[in-house]
Symmetry: none
Subunit: 208 residues, 2 copies
């Protein structure tokens, strides 16, 4: 049985090309849409094996689209198909439940590979994207990008747990003002102006 596919893509020309291309290559395109408003219904009724989802569409974005589809029919694999390669959108899509993430510059042959890969339960991603995903696990290596001393790292770790200066001083058994002194140096090295920024940076860049 050929894999059933539904497309969401607001560019008419591209949508039609994709439909043609997929139908010519052994897939069954059950529907193709220029926006996501009916995504929930479509997922519930057609129960497609795969959805190709653009992000930038009029009305509801593809990110919300993934959510709608995954809520309506979690078995449908959703592959993002977009020009965006920024971390923000990427991780929003992954959190929303996307099963794959392809950039639009992907050649058709790789697109077919990707569809076959999700059908096997995999997670096809363009190289740059896969890179970003894996790099979220990397610890080490860049850790010393900011040249923090041992003691400074220790202070930053406590800070990142939400501890106040007073509590950090107690934990590390040093004076209140010493902690403040370390913090001042940390802020300089991280190029931030306050503890909240430092925590945000430390946790999002995993430098603790």
């Amino acid at each position: 049985m050929p894999a059933s596919i539904v497309l969401f893509e607001d560019n008419d020309r591209l949508r039609e090309s994709l439909t043609y291309l997929l139908n010519m290559n052994g897939y069954t395109v059950m529907g193709s849409y220029g926006q996501c408003s009916e995504a929930s219904l479509i997922a519930r009724v057609y129960k497609p094996d795969v959805v190709l989802m653009d992000i930038d569409m009029p009305g509801i974005s593809g990110i919300a689209g993934v959510q709608m589809i995954k809520e309506s029919n979690p078995d449908t694999a959703v592959i993002m198909y977009t020009v965006f390669e920024d971390d923000e959108k990427l991780f929003q899509c992954l959190c929303a439940g996307a099963n794959g993430y392809l950039l639009k510059k992907t050649p058709p042959a790789k697109l077919f590979d990707a569809i076959n890969e999700v059908l096997e339960g995999g997670a096809p991603m363009s190289p740059i994207i896969a890179q970003k995903v894996l790099s979220t696990f990397r610890t080490k290596q860049e850790v010393n990008k900011y040249n923090l001393s041992l003691r400074e790292k220790e202070v930053l770790q406590w800070l990142s747990k939400g501890y106040s200066i007073k509590m950090i001083a107690t934990e590390m058994d040093i004076a209140f003002d010493t902690v403040r002194s370390h913090l001042k140096n940390i802020y300089q090295k991280l190029h931030v102006n306050c503890g909240k920024e430092a925590i945000a940076k430390a946790l999002s860049e995993r430098i603790v």
Copy 2:
């Protein structure tokens, strides 16, 4: 120029088969080893494009092996090649800097695909593995554990970027005191006492 490859695999038969197979298919196997003790040196001297790394080897494990190679020559892409598919080993490898993760049941054709994929900067993974990796991003379910209102979530998002109250007020175009009012409610709902704790909780539990 054919891609240069180094193998680490303690099973002699498999190691020789792989060497033969890769050499027959346009790759240059520069070396193959039954254990990791010389991994650092090998990476520094040969600077291979790709390393295929087993996990379970006598002496130093492949997980430590990845670390050694990545420290010696970060440009070498390391693909894990193992029978293990448990979360523990998988994420240890990813944290150590692995660029891909293949199960040994992978057919040769896919192995070649994978090598080509890392050479393009990608992250080849067996379907089951890719699934596990993506599932770490899925949020949902617990998102509303703290019952934050829309506006409160918005404030918390800005806060988590390290913004001051004044800056948040400007961004959201509401009064300074309104932001403080929202924050007070957020702190209550999150059971924290200050913005730093809130950021720590928000970022570590991914509730933003």
